[in-house]
């Protein structure tokens, strides 16, 4: 490290002096990071560290697969893999699942792991006073029995095609009865990393679990630092304070890191369908022609280039493009301002329309909103922007449906089912679609499920429920020597189990 510059006065004067002559960052050899420890950064701080008691994605992004494990695990490609359940068999009628548990597994506090823990975890999640954010995952379960220490039998009320996938969610991880209550601040799981320390507002530290049941982690120590501010994140990355940033909050900085040989930029995809959500029952928006006019008025590629600096794949419906069942419907509403004006005039709004556009904090919303507002203005639709914090968005838009338009990205995996819900902020009630969903839930066969998913996608696009913009990209930036980080994020997680320095 170089010698510290003399007195603060000198540095202040120097900084002020050099303020105007901004110097492009020169190539400086990065500080030599210890070979077996990694500092990963992420944008949002988890409120606490118990994935079974909170919906914040940040909780899973810290603990999923690192500290806590469920019966099954979702890997980097989104496939379901065995975890605490070594193997499982499914009955013919798809109603009973028998899981054979891994042997020789202990919790981080040394206590043993057996089927009783699994039963406790599931009963706790399904209980009346449960505070599990995804309680719905367990709806289809009728009962959980433990014939012996190594096996768990789960019987369902009706067949559920996605049960194995659901049990791979963070909210379905297995916790020990003795430590469940304290997991919020002292998470005790069975994962390859043991919780070290949590400096609130700054970082979470974890160390390798020496007596892990499976293949041990390659990293001895991992620190997850919280840096929300994009510029601060860029500076930290360039200054070598952090080794990797799973999903960089500022797409505009990618060009900067691509040009720098010290770093590797990996653009993947996420489960985040970014949409211009429409309140389908609110005044003029109940008229499908108006909704289609909006779809034609928005130039998706311009929004991606402007808001996300080109990172993101356009979508025509509410489904993740990387998923095999994806149907490309981007062509159904091409960018055609004239057609949009015509549709609006046809719907009786020739002289223009004023709609409220509420934007939650993320930059895709704030920037996308400005671009879309400008584009809507071209066709005579005045979008009055108001930026709201998440609590305000939840209160007004999500619960109160007191909005015309909003921009949000749904990052939960496989969440097309939300359009079938009785109450959801789109206010889209369609019997056919609901029927499709119930049918989907009960089919187990893969190809049949994909067919149904395709029909659902076509239905949403036809009804133009929302203006489907693009799939949120995952901007991975890490030191070129770091190997093993996920390229995509099929589920909200930073799985460090396979990460190492080469």
């Amino acid at each position: 490290m170089k010698k510290l510059v003399a007195s603060p006065l000198a540095s202040a004067a120097l900084a002020a002096g050099l303020a105007l002559g901004l110097v492009a960052p020169a190539l400086v050899t990065p500080a030599l990071a210890a070979k077996d420890s990694l500092t990963l950064a992420m944008p949002l701080e988890p409120p606490h560290l118990d994935p079974t008691a909170g919906a914040a994605a940040a909780i899973d992004e810290v603990v999923y697969a690192n500290i806590f494990e469920g019966l099954t695990r979702i890997d980097s490609s989104g496939a379901v893999k065995p975890a605490l359940a070594e193997s499982w068999t499914v009955s013919g009628d798809g109603l009973t699942y028998t899981f054979k548990l891994q042997s020789g597994v202990t919790f981080h506090d040394g206590s043993g792991f057996d089927s009783a823990d699994v039963k406790f975890s599931f009963d706790r999640a399904m209980a009346e006073d449960s505070v599990n954010a995804q309680k719905g995952l367990f709806d289809s379960i009728a009962a959980v029995e433990v014939p012996d220490a190594g096996t768990v039998v789960v019987t369902l009320k009706q067949p559920a095609g996605n049960l194995l996938f659901n049990l791979g969610w963070g909210d379905a991880v297995i916790v020990a009865p003795e430590t469940a209550a304290e997991n919020k601040n002292n998470p005790v799981g069975t994962g390859p990393f043991v919780f070290g320390r949590w400096v609130k507002g700054d970082r979470v530290e974890m160390v390798r679990n020496e007596n892990y049941w499976g293949e041990p982690a390659k990293l001895a120590k991992a620190t997850i630092k919280i840096i929300p501010d994009p510029a601060a994140a860029t500076a930290a990355m360039l200054a070598g304070d952090i080794d990797a940033y799973a999903n960089f909050p500022a797409p505009e900085a990618m060009a900067q890191f691509e040009a720098d040989p010290r770093f590797k930029v990996v653009i993947g995809s996420t489960e985040g369908e970014t949409i211009l959500a429409i309140n389908n029952t609110r005044g003029p928006l109940s008229d499908i022609r108006v909704r289609r006019a909006l779809a034609h008025a928005v130039d998706r590629q311009a929004v991606i280039d402007g808001a996300m600096f080109g990172y993101g794949t356009p979508i025509g419906t509410h489904f993740a493009p990387h998923h095999p069942a994806y149907v490309d419907l981007t062509g159904s509403y091409p960018y055609d301002p004239e057609k949009a004006k015509a549709l609006l005039a046809e719907a009786g709004h020739g002289d223009g329309l004023t709609l409220s556009l509420k934007l939650p904090p993320p930059s895709y919303a704030r920037r996308g909103g400005e671009i879309i507002a400008a584009q809507l203005a071209q066709v005579g639709v005045e979008a009055k922007i108001s930026q709201v914090e998440w609590p305000g968005w939840l209160e007004q838009v999500f619960k109160g449906t007191d909005y015309d338009l909003t921009i949000v990205s749904h990052t939960e995996p496989m969440d097309i089912g939300i359009y079938g819900r009785d109450t959801y902020y789109f206010n889209y009630q369609d019997a056919d679609f609901k029927a499709l969903m119930t049918k989907l839930n009960t089919t187990v066969d893969e190809t049949a499920r994909y067919g149904l998913l395709g029909d659902a996608q076509k239905k949403l696009s036809a009804d133009s429920v929302n203006v489907f913009l693009f799939q949120l990209a995952k901007h991975g930036v890490w030191n070129k020597d770091v190997v093993g980080l996920w390229e995509n994020s099929p589920v909200q997680a930073n799985d460090l189990t396979a990460v190492y320095w080469n």
Partner: protein, 287 residues
Amino acid sequence: MLSEARAVSLREFWLRGRGQANLMIGLAVTLLLIAVAVLSLVWTPYPINAIDIPAKLQPPSAAHWLGTDQFGRDVLSRIMAGARNSIAVSLVAVGIGAGLGVPLGALAAARRGWVEEVVMRFNDFTFAFPALLSAVMITSLFGPGAINAIIAIGIFNIPVFARLTRGAALSLWQRDFVLAARVAGRGRTRITLDHILPNIASLLIVQMTIQFALAILAEAGLSYLGLGTQPPDPSWGKMLNEAQTLMFLAPQLAIFPGLAIMATVLGLNLLGDGLRDLLDPRLRRLR
């Protein structure tokens, strides 16, 4: 009543003011700012919110003197429009501060007793909160936006003017010419209007320019946090915030709004200093 005192001082103002560097520079910068703001109402090189994605992040060029921002909008136009926003927010905020603060302060000095106690407690109370924190609470309470920023900043100017007015008025109430007015049978309110306010007018004008400068900084801070003026209306603070993430890609984006804020605040402070020397000879030796 009041006009008499002012008429003379304006002529005198120009005669004595000419020679002072501070005053002239300050006045020039402030007038330039106002001119730019007014001009932006009518004309700007490019439409303020015209998005042109392909032309984004261009460095300063003949077409765009200060280059374009992340959405391809002309930075010069947005800075001109930003001036309008800064002035409006700061002017109204300082107006609220003075409008409520001065009468409160004068009342406290005239009435003394429990009235003074109440005003002073209110002052201590508002001073107890760091200004920015309370602005954050107010804007998150009633939602972000220029109006709420104005209210938030305005509230914090009230105690400044109240305290200043009370202090100056208290010393004036001891002066013989005020006693003479009481002997002549004038009431407290009439004395405050006839004698107290005209004699502290110069002090207030100087303080207003200083508070105006601080209000601009506060507005920039609030819109930096996203709580001030809402997009698509441009504000210097917001431009600075957005530019920050592009610091390495397009550094100039962060410079121009920062310079605009700095120049405005510098101009106003110089104007304040110049006015103080001019209007309050007693302070002249403090230059």
